[in-house]
């Protein structure tokens, strides 16, 4: 049972609030009221607790001094593993929260093979969308999520090494630049969006909360069946290029953040994924087109 809003706020500003997203529990405290409000908006409906749980990560968002709190407000981050993140101005506060959490997962999580990939599900079919920045991975996973699919993750696909299942880690989607307007149009309702953070190193960033059913099912894993590598090209004709199993394997390795650290177990897990899934590359020029291609590829290849 979630604590009420005032309790959440009190714990966030004080000794810390326990937040569980998928397999990971983080203890968070935020000393800036404006960032606290933005955090509570974008994480509305997530699972919080004031009772301690065995905690994976700690995140402390604070000001280094009185001057940095009130005169030229600047946000500093402390995780147990690192506290020398580049400080951000208070106006970009939520970015540092997200950055801190991503950093800890990227370097700390070894129980699951991590993919830099979106993961979605339809009718029990798990779809992995790995991609480099700028290929439209986030837009496509968010687009599918707000088109009736279940959203599992955007930044980190998590494959359990032992079971070979994909576990949800449904953090807010980070949308960049042109894709913000596309998604606002696609979703129709401004409520699940954060405000837009302009002038970041990656341009303008806006966060989008995943749909409620995806959050409610954040502990339900799914078997990977399909891997889709999106390529955004505004002038291209829509196309689907199937990939061989060998190619599929190497592309998965390339998109994984902790493959080398996990070692042999990760090799076996990815071999299994490459053998048991079908993979393709899709080239598209609009979100509608991409979604149609994904559905077409699945309908034609999975009965």
């Amino acid at each position: 049972m979630n604590p009420d809003l005032s309790t959440i706020k009190r714990r966030l500003s004080g000794s810390g609030l326990f937040m569980t997203v998928g397999p990971i529990c983080t203890k968070i405290s935020i000393k800036f009221p404006s960032i606290r409000d933005e955090f509570m908006h974008i994480y509305k409906g997530y699972s919080f607790s004031e009772q301690p749980e065995i905690t994976d990560y700690y995140l402390d968002v604070y000001a280094k001094s009185f001057y940095r709190r009130y005169v030229r407000p600047q946000v500093a981050l402390n995780t147990l593993t690192r506290n020398n993140f580049v400080p951000l101005p208070e106006s970009m506060g939520l970015l540092s929260v997200e950055m801190g959490m991503n950093w800890q997962v990227a370097f700390g999580c070894k129980t699951h093979v991590l993919f830099h990939a979106g993961v979605v599900e339809r009718d029990g079919i798990g779809v992995v969308i790995p991609a480099i920045s700028g290929s439209g991975k986030s837009t496509l996973s968010a687009g599918l999520a707000y088109d009736g699919w279940r959203f599992l993750s955007d930044e980190f696909g998590m494959l359990d090494v032992d079971t070979g299942l994909l576990y949800p880690y449904p953090r807010p989607v980070s949308l960049k630049n042109e894709s913000i307007a596309v998604m606002k149009d696609w979703v129709g309702d401004p409520e699940p969006f954060s405000r837009e953070y302009e002038g970041t190193p990656k341009g303008t960033i806006c966060y989008l909360r995943p749909p409620v059913p995806s959050l409610e099912n954040m502990h339900k894993p799914v078997r990977p069946r399909v891997v889709i590598h999106p390529v955004f090209n505004p002038n291209a004709k829509p196309s689907i290029t199937p990939l061989t199993k060998t190619m599929a394997f190497f592309r998965l390795v390339r998109s994984s953040a902790n493959y080398g650290d996990i070692g042999e177990a990760a090799f076996h897990a990815l071999t299994k994924v490459a053998e048991e899934t079908i993979s393709c590359e899709i080239t598209y020029s609009s979100l509608e087109e991409a979604i149609a291609l994904v559905n077409q590829f699945i309908d034609e290849n999975i009965s």
Binding site: L80, G108, C109, K110, T111, G263
Partner: protein, 340 residues
């Protein structure tokens, strides 16, 4: 471990993290047969720690492989010390250990040759400031750290285990002569020297802050090596020969105190001959008890601060003669002052 509450688990993991002992905790939980009964979440965190430790150790051993290739043609002894040696020998002290860099010891006359080999193979010095470069070359017991840009594992090339200016700096040739071969020209120190090196590193050169890990390492080495019948005699003889009676006394005293290490009483009696005076020992005890396990004990912050910094100052005091220390610190102070 089985009776811990959620709060206890978080304290344990927090302390273990700060003391760099999570990997060790994971390894012990498995060996003691407790694993299956631990909460799922605790297993998950310990598994992360185990994999991180294994991955780091793999990296360190791969770096040894690359070093051998870089040193092709150099045929004198290359001695692996500290973590690298524990891993290569499969010692208990390597279990769950998080090793970050790799330390080798070579004879001083070979220092330039080894450095040239490494530079030619693409290793680059991490120290660019000319004062620091000069400081290393003139006073330190090692070259400025070298790193290969493809792998980013720091390699420290030592020619002694203590700075030449340290009043306890030993005749290193004795240790190099006694080293035992591992494979080709890769060597490790003899058992007694491995333990002495660890002790000297902690009680002479180190700052002793949060170093339960190092004490545990000595406990492991003692427990493992003392299975051999003549270990204690050899060890105490060697400690006296190299002039390490005092740090050995500290090691045995605190190992027995914190870790219940099995030390024969006649060894303890012999070690006590090198004990400091009553007052010095009291101060040392006070500082060690406060800094060895500094997290979650709830002691006074002021005394913790004094103890930690007292030990830090002590390590510097031992490292150089006072005039040199003053010169070095003045230089460092002005550099910091000018930067800000």
């Amino acid at each position: 471990m089985l009776k811990l509450t959620v709060k206890d688990w978080n304290s344990v993991f927090f302390a273990a993290h700060m003391l760099k002992l999570r990997g060790r905790l994971a390894s012990d939980a498995r060996e003691n047969g407790l694993w299956e009964q631990l909460p799922h979440k605790a297993q998950q965190i310990l598994t992360n720690a185990r994999i991180i430790a294994e991955a780091r150790q793999r990296k360190v051993m791969w770096e040894v492989n690359r070093l051998r290739r870089a040193l092709f043609g150099f045929e004198d002894k290359v001695i692996l010390v500290k973590g690298g040696a524990y891993i290569a020998r499969g010692l208990r002290a390597a279990k769950g250990r998080i090793s970050v860099d790799i330390d080798i010891l070579v004879a001083k006359k070979n220092l330039d040759i080894v450095e040239n080999h490494l530079l030619l193979s693409g290793y680059a010095s991490q120290v660019l400031n000319s004062y620091d470069q000069q400081y290393y070359r003139e006073w330190a017991h090692e070259l400025p750290p070298l790193v290969h840009p493809d792998r980013m594992v720091e390699v420290d090339v030592h020619h002694n285990i203590l700075q030449v200016t340290n009043r306890l700096c030993p005749n290193i040739n004795l240790m190099i002569e006694a080293a035992v071969p591992l494979e080709d020209n890769i060597y490790v120190l003899s058992d007694v020297d491995i333990l002495l090196h660890s002790i000297v590193h902690l009680f002479v050169d180190g700052t002793i802050k949060a170093s339960l890990r190092n004490l545990l390492e000595q406990h492991d080495l003692i427990s493992e090596f003392s299975q051999q019948a003549d270990f204690w005699t050899q060890f105490m003889d060697r400690a006296e020969e190299l002039g390490f009676g005092r740090p050995v006394f500290y090691c045995l005293r605190y190992c027995a105190h914190f870790l219940n290490t099995d030390i024969p009483s006649e060894v303890m009696t012999r070690a006590k001959k090198a004990a400091p005076g009553f007052l010095t020992l009291k101060i040392m005890d006070m500082m060690i008890f406060r800094t060895m396990v500094p997290y979650g004990t709830g002691g006074s912050k002021v005394t913790d601060y004094l103890a930690t910094n007292g030990l830090y100052i002590r390590s510097h005091w031992l490292r150089m003669p006072p005039a040199l220390l003053a010169k070095h610190l003045t230089r460092k102070f002005f550099r910091r002052f000018l930067k800000s």
